[in-house]
């Protein structure tokens, strides 16, 4: 297991976002799996136990915040590392901000417009890689 590259789960309802981040992260040497909504995200996380979960907030079926709370409630998944990757300052839901996200036990809260190289650097940070 130590020799295998880290496994990252990306949960987002936009196929284009998934393909974009998957390409970049795979190029950077990670293994990537994806899920299109909160409920499937939990299923995959429980089955695969990824080293890091990049999760969108606005998701169908179950949103990211709720999914994260559920992951925390489950002994099998409560120690999984989660980072919210999203556009905050959604005017329709102003209560969702960094503080709320971090309050759920997530590691960080990143904006979707981020430079891909920067994203990779941050991920290496979360995974405590050199």
């Amino acid at each position: 297991m130590i020799n295998q590259p880290p496994l990252i789960l990306i949960v987002d309802d936009e196929p284009d976002i998934l393909s974009m981040y998957k390409t970049k992260l795979e190029r950077a040497g990670f293994r990537v799996i994806t899920a299109p909504d909160g409920a499937q995200g939990i299923q995959v996380a429980t089955a695969e136990r990824p080293d890091l979960i990049l999760m969108d907030v606005k998701l169908p079926v179950m949103d990211g915040i709720e999914a994260q709370q559920k992951l925390r409630e489950n002994a099998a998944t409560k120690d999984l590392k989660v980072v919210f990757l999203t556009a905050f300052s959604d005017p329709a839901r102003p209560e969702i901000d960094e503080n709320l996200a971090k309050g759920t036990g997530a590691l960080d809260f990143i904006k979707k417009g981020i430079n891909l190289d920067e994203l990779v650097a941050k991920i290496r940070g979360y995974l405590e890689l050199p």
Binding site: D16, M20, T23, S89, D90, P91, P94, K112, G113, L116
Partner: protein, 431 residues
């Protein structure tokens, strides 16, 4: 001899020959005669003078009468004029849509127009101020009335009451004799406010929706630039670079729109912490050095080591946002010369000055500088830059953090000086 005397002599003494009267008697009779004559003269004079006086009186009386008539006519005319003016004002007041309440010099209601009664749902003018005070409890009505009776007018731009939005003004009425009352204006701005809010909401939602596609465009451009096939071809690299730069530019504009919504709704999540504003300034200036060099402009931060500016409690990210906006503007609007940044420390504040030798801002545009979406005449002379919201947002942010962002001065084709000021927390003196 006086004839009256003659008659009297004849009557009392009878016919007498003058030779028979002794000399003394003659003298006495003469004196008496003279007295009668004088008396006659006096009487004539008196009658004459009475006659004259009487004539004068008649003249004066006539004059008074005619002047009186003139005055009465004037009064009548003037009363009519005033009536007319009053009717005019009354009609205007009656048909106005703005509520007007007039208070006299001691704060008593002296007039309430129909619009005010309608807006306050009262039928008696006397109840107007009472209802006004109780309903508009978010606004310190009594205090503002007091202030206006002392000469100070107040304007409350927005207050929400019974489901509507009003704008209220307390205007101090002055004349040469002093302050004679207060005029309270009540505007119902519900319709325009709701429209504004709907517009802002729409922009915010649209902007939010644009973020994801823009992120996808930018991300994919980045991925393309990583491909060897592209990297080997400089023309392809260039084009994809253009796509990426513009996606980033759009993202910036979208972020500005969203920032404005958050700031206007005052739901700004500010993370306040101790910030070394000079260190952050140095870092930001360093980030801009490449851009300045490319334009051949000198960008300098004059050292402030002598000033020992303490750390301030601010939101670091937002402070940097302001720095980036002001420095970015300075560089963008300067074709040649320099952008100089310096610091001033005063007893209770610290001021950062951003000076450029750029195209400057003319008087008219200066007034609109910190407003939304107004790039002004500058727009015609230089490529547009950003969303037009930069200074508006920076101004709001500075004020939210307790400071201020101002244009100190500017002259067309000479340059501009902007200042960013923050208060220094008073030092605790150890006694």
């Amino acid at each position: 001899m006086h004839r009256v005397l003659e008659r009297q002599i004849k009557h009392y003494i009878g016919n007498v020959k003058s030779e028979e009267i002794s000399a003394q008697w003659t003298a006495l009779l003469q004196v008496i005669s003279d007295t009668y004559a004088h008396s006659d003269d006096d009487r004539t004079l008196l009658l004459r003078s009475l006659e004259l006086s009487s004539k004068e009186f008649v003249e004066i009386n006539k004059k008074l009468k005619s002047e009186n008539e003139i005055i009465e006519k004037k009064v009548k005319d003037r009363t009519q004029e005033l009536e007319y003016e009053r009717t005019k004002l009354n009609e205007v007041a009656r048909h106005m849509n703005t509520g007007a309440i007039l208070l006299d010099g001691i704060g008593k209601v002296s007039f309430v127009n129909e619009a005010a009664m309608r807006l306050l749902s009262v039928t008696e003018a006397g109840k107007a101020v009472e209802v006004f005070t109780t309903q508009f409890n978010a606004v310190s009505v009594k205090e503002y009335i007091k202030k206006s009776l002392m000469g100070e007018s107040t304007h409350v731009p927005e207050v929400e009451v019974f489901g509507k939005i009003f704008s209220v003004s307390f205007i101090s009425l002055k004349s040469e004799a002093g302050i004679f009352g207060t005029l309270i204006w009540l505007y119902d701005i519900t319709a325009s406010k709701l429209l504004e809010r709907a517009k802002n909401q729409f922009i915010a939602v649209a902007s939010h929706e644009m973020r994801t596609p823009l992120a996808i465009i930018r991300g994919n451009a980045e991925l393309l630039l990583d491909e060897e096939v592209i990297r080997k071809d400089s023309s392809l690299t260039h084009k994809i670079g253009v796509i990426m730069r513009n996606a980033i530019r759009l993202l910036g504009i979208v972020n500005d729109f969203l920032d404005v919504q958050i700031l206007e709704w005052k739901k700004v999540p500010l993370t306040m912490e101790l910030v070394d504003i000079v260190k952050l300034l140095k870092e930001t200036v360093a980030d801009f050095s490449e851009l300045a060099a490319a334009k051949n402009i000198s960008l300098t931060l004059t050292p402030s080591s002598a000033l020992a500016i303490p750390a301030l409690t601010l939101d670091k990210r937002r402070l940097q946002q302001i720095y980036i906006n002001v420095i970015g503007n300075a560089i963008h609007y300067t074709q040649k010369g320099e952008v100089t940044i310096s610091l001033e420390k005063r007893a209770d504040s610290v001021k950062i000055l951003f000076q450029d030798t750029g195209i400057g801002i003319d008087r008219e545009d200066q007034a609109r500088l910190f407003k939304k979406f107004e790039i002004g005449k500058v727009f015609l002379r230089s490529k547009e830059y950003g969303s037009g919201l930069g200074l508006y947002i920076s101004g709001l942010l500075a004020r939210l953090m307790g400071g201020d962002l101002k244009l100190e001065k500017s002259e067309v084709d000479v340059g501009s000086v902007f200042s960013l000021t923050f208060p220094l927390v008073p030092e605790v003196k150890v006694l």
